[in-house]
Structures are given as C-alpha cells and as structure tokens.
Amino acid sequence: MPVDLKYMLNPKSVAIIGASKNPEKVGHIILQNYINSGYSGKLFAVNKDAESILGVKAYAHVGEIKEKLDLAVIAIPAPFVPAVLEECGRAGVKSTIVVTAGFEEIGQKELQEQIVSISEKYKMPMLGPNCLGVIDTRARTDTLFLPTYKLSKPGVGYVSFISQSGAVGSTILDLIAGEGFGLSKFISYGNAAYVDESDILEYLMNDEDTKVIIMYLEGIKNGKKFIEVAKKVTKKKPVVVLKGGRTSVGQQATLSHTASLAGDYQVYEGVFKQFGFTIANDLNELLYYAKVLVSEPAPSGNRVGIITNGGGAGVITTDSVGFVKTLKLAELSKKSQEILRKKMPPLVNIRIPLDLAGDAGGDRYETAVSVLKDDENVDMIIVIALFQTPGADSSVVAKLVHFKADITKPMIVISIGAEYTQVHNKMMEESGLPVYDSPLAAVNSLAELFKYYSYKNQK
C-alpha cells in the first residue's frame, strides 16, 4: 500500500507542537511561516506555558484540541518526542512531521525505533525525524524552520523536489526561487524512519501537479523497494537525481575485478541508468535538466538546429553538440534553404549554425524560427541571443515568446551576459522558455531530454 502524503502536504488542520513565543525557537519560525505563506486551514499551537502565540490559540496538550487534526508538526527536544507521538496517536492525528534531530544520525537508534513503532501502532505516517518537512506551494503549507529573510521561496510550478539533506535542500530551494519554472512540492525526509524516498517517489508519481521530480540523496533505505518504484515512476515522468557520497571510504578488499570496479556508487549509477533516471553531477545540473524537462515536449529525433546572432557562440554551441555522442547537428532541408535565401540578407550563410549576424533584430529571428520549426530535418532548436550585439533588444524576446505558445518542437535559448541580458532572460523564463547561460549546459540539457524520451518510449 502506498503511503498517502496528502495529509502532510495539504492538511485541513495543523498543530505546531513546540510552538514558542521566542522568535529564535524552531517552533516559532514554523508557526510564523504557516501564517506568512497564507495557509488557509485551521492552525493550532501546542505549548504548556502560553495562551496564544502570534495570535494563534495555544493548548497545553494536543489531545485538548477538539478539531480532527490532519497533521502535527513536532519541534521539541528528541527525548520528549515519543510521549508526544503517543498523544497524537490517541488523539487520532492523521500524520506527523518530526523536524527534531537527535535520533539515528547521532547513534540514538533505540529512540528512533521507538517513534517508528508508535507511528506504526497508530498507522500514522511520520516524516523525518531530522528533516525540514514540506512545502506545498498550492496548498500554501510550509514547515521549514528557516526564517523567510534567509532564503527566497519559489513560486508555484510543476517541479517537485525531494531531499534527504536539509541544508542542501534549502540551498537548492533558494536556487529554484531564482529560476522561472517554480516549485510544486518540496519534501525533506531526513532519516527516512517511516516515510522513505520510495514512498515519496511513488506519491509524486501520481501527483497531477508534479511533472518533473528532482531529488538529492545520499543513500537508499531499501534497494529492492526503490527498484520497484523506479520501474514505474520514470515511465510516467522524469526524475533527475543527484547522488551525494560517491567515494566509498573503507571499501572492502575484493577478490574479483568485478567487485573492485562495482563500488557502491557505480552500482547506484547503474540502477539510475537502467531505470531511466536523469543523472545530475552537480547542483546546477539538477536545475538545468529540471528546466528543460518541465517545459519542453518529447523531441522527434536527435538533430539540433542552431540559430545565432554571433558567429563564435554558434561555433562553440556546434562544438558542444559534437561532444555529445547522442546528438547530431541538423542539416536544413532544400525547401528551408530556398525560403531562407529569399528572406535573409545576402550576408547570412544559409546553413546550421544559422548566423543571423550582429544586426539581427526580432524580425530576422522570427523568420529563422518559423522556418526551422517546420523543417522536418530539425528535431530540436537552440536559439542563441546575445544582447550585447547592436540589433538584439526586447523585440527578439517578444518574437521568441510568441513562438513558445504553439511550437511543437523543443526550443531553448542561450543568452549570456549581465544586467541588460538578465532582464531579457527573466522575461523569457517567466514565459516558460528555458534560458541557459552556457552552451555546454544547454546542449547537455537537450541530450538529457532526448535520452529521457528514448527511454520512456522504448518497449
């Protein structure tokens, strides 16, 4: 039976246990964040010494709250967690998030086993312990105990993010906030004592507001269970994974070549490849790949058409296509060549990369994209727009964004530069046009897009 996470992500009623008047306490920040996010369900504070906190009525015990609770967020010192979980179970709370640290991660295995068995007894799914909890941008829930001034929160989108680590999780959240694609759900699961990464993947697989899953993990709790979910999830939606902990310390001496080659990470990598995961090697690759996968359709093939307003940038991007074994540079059809020759000024060489020259404005881009989008020899389009050139201005952005509405091929933009460029990049990204600041990153992202759909469509 899959674990239902809806009571954690989209609760109708929440109690913050350990809510405090002291603004430095975790329980205070969580309550504050619920209020700041505009959460519209019923909110309760649990604290023995206060009548109300931040205008929210406080109770000494969770059992005194008359409402049925969908979720209890628990932020009290570890030794007190079992008793409070027991109270939650008796009160019929449907799920819990234990943000408190001090369990298995510091050797307190018994304490962790205790809270798992209480949760199991009451069939009360528990996230954590030792985690940041969840964000659901649509439900406006936020259990993160990080003050809002410390990190920007992403807007509403279709990428969901799973993180084993809290700190890496919040850093990536901050980065996502700087991207145009937004966030659907964030789930930091810490020690995975009850709800583990496979349960979360399976839940997000069936979540309509999640189109792409990105995940940071260091280990997996149950390999066989993970494989069963992995087989299904990537046939429905892409999963981009960054695995920390690649170098194994104290690897055992082996008696075969196979075992000496196949270390822990190499096996993980094999599993990810076998089941169609998109592998990121760094934090920024998580974002690069999420961006293209969430906005672009399946490509019809692997031939890349390049449009540019700078010769050098076109060459570098062409080189990048050459580095990638799975992609090819497109060749224009006869028909496209004829149309372009008629419409383009004589200084434009009619071949890929199609160099529109430095004086190209929106109109020349419009002609180029309209020809490539209908050319059967072109499967994916990279548009390079260098805003330092004399011709490029907001008219280029206006034309490209216009195409985005009805183009059926993947199209991404490379645009590199400081303030003036960034303004235009933001306009494009907010309109769902992926923008990359590096030719290699852009080409690798298309390669991952192609690879994912090749896997998804194979029988």
């Binding site: 997996i220 494989i227 075969s256 070549h257 196979t258 075992a259 094999g270 490849k273």
Partner: protein, 204 residues
C-alpha cells in the same frame, strides 16, 4: 569468501548455455603435453591468492613445442609454490579477438548486479564498464553496450552485438538463479561470430 573450483564454474556456465574454452588440470609437464596433442596451449596457475594472473606472471601463452610446455610448467610451479593451495590448468589457445569482462556480484543494497567492461589488461587502466541490476532485459543489455566508451571497439556490427547481448542475458539468468558473491569472466574473447570464455572466477 571462497574460490569455487574452476570446473565447477565451467559446469555452471554450461547449464546456462555459456560455453567456455576447453581446459584440463595437469599435474605434470607430460600430462600437459598429452592434453596439447600438438596444438598450441595456454598454461596458468589457479589460486585464490592472486587476482591478477597475467600481472603476477602466472600465465604462459601460446606454448607450441614440448620444450616450451616443459619449461612453462617448471617456471609456473616454482612461482606458485608461494601461493599454495594452487592448481595448474592448461587450455586451448584462443584464436584471439577483443577482450571484455563480464562479471557479477551481490550488492548489499540492490542484490545481484551484472557488469560489462573492456576486459583483460585494460579493466583497471580504463575502468570502462557498465552495471545493471539482474535480471536484465534486451534493452538493458543493449544500453550496457551503448554506455561503454569502447562501444565501437568491442562490437563488430549488428550480428556480433546481438551475440554479446545474448551472452549478457545468459549471464544475468545465471547470476539471478545462483547463490554466489562475485563472478569474473575475464577475459571473454569476442570475435565476429563466436566467443571464448577464457577465465572463470567464482567466489562463494
């Protein structure tokens, strides 16, 4: 972990439809000469104590004359004296081809996994290999080959590729149904139409 007997490994492979090059244990140079029967042979030392047979000088290739066989037996016996218990094996000489490694192990997290890589002496130098969880299907076998940098080196076209895919599926089948900790078929020598499994190492 203990090293399984070479011929026990050979029988196991055969059960899953994998043929290996003809081999015999020998106790003397005379016995080796009689097994060779005038054909060129390979002589090597089998011992749990040496993983790199060729690097440790425990393999003598392409022995043609009685004299070559005699002196190889003498020198290998001397080297192996420090590596007891050991056995000396002679094999038909492979016709040659591209060397790959096909292996497997029981991973603590994911269970049985299969490995394909550029083989022989290149295994550790280039570390060009791909891993999948068992059992694998045809797509997995094909993507293992695609994943190798040496893809174009180890395959000679579609027929040969099909043969290698088939071999991987058989090894996966064997790994899935056999209780073992580690397996090395290294090298497996691939040619256009056939292959030789030249060395079998199974650890239980």
């Amino acid at each position: 972990m203990t090293l399984s007997d070479y011929f026990e490994g050979e029988r196991l492979l055969k059960k899953y439809g994998i043929s290996s090059i003809r081999s015999w244990y020998v106790d003397s140079a005379e016995e080796a000469i009689s097994k060779a029967n005038g054909n060129p042979i390979v002589m090597k030392v089998i011992t749990e104590k040496a993983l790199h047979k060729s690097k440790s000088g425990l393999v003598e290739l392409d022995l043609k004359t009685d004299q070559e066989i005699k002196s190889a037996f003498k020198s290998l016996s001397a080297k192996a004296a420090k590596l007891k218990p050991y056995k000396i094996i002679v094999q038909e000489m492979s016709k040659g081809g591209i060397e790959v490694i096909i292996g497997g192990k029981t991973d603590p997290q994911f269970g049985k996994v299969i490995l394909l890589g550029l083989g022989g002496i290149y295994v550790e130098a280039f570390k060009d290999f791909a891993i999948r969880v068992c059992p694998i299907n045809k797509n997995d076998a094909s993507s293992m080959i695609d994943n190798l940098k040496s893809e174009n080196v180890i395959t000679y076209g579609s027929e040969n590729r099909k043969m290698l895919e088939g071999l991987l599926l058989k090894v996966s089948d064997m790994l899935t149904h056999t209780d073992l900790k580690e397996l090395d078929l290294n090298p497996v020598i691939l040619r256009k139409d056939d292959y030789d499994v030249v060395d079998i190492r199974i650890l239980k």
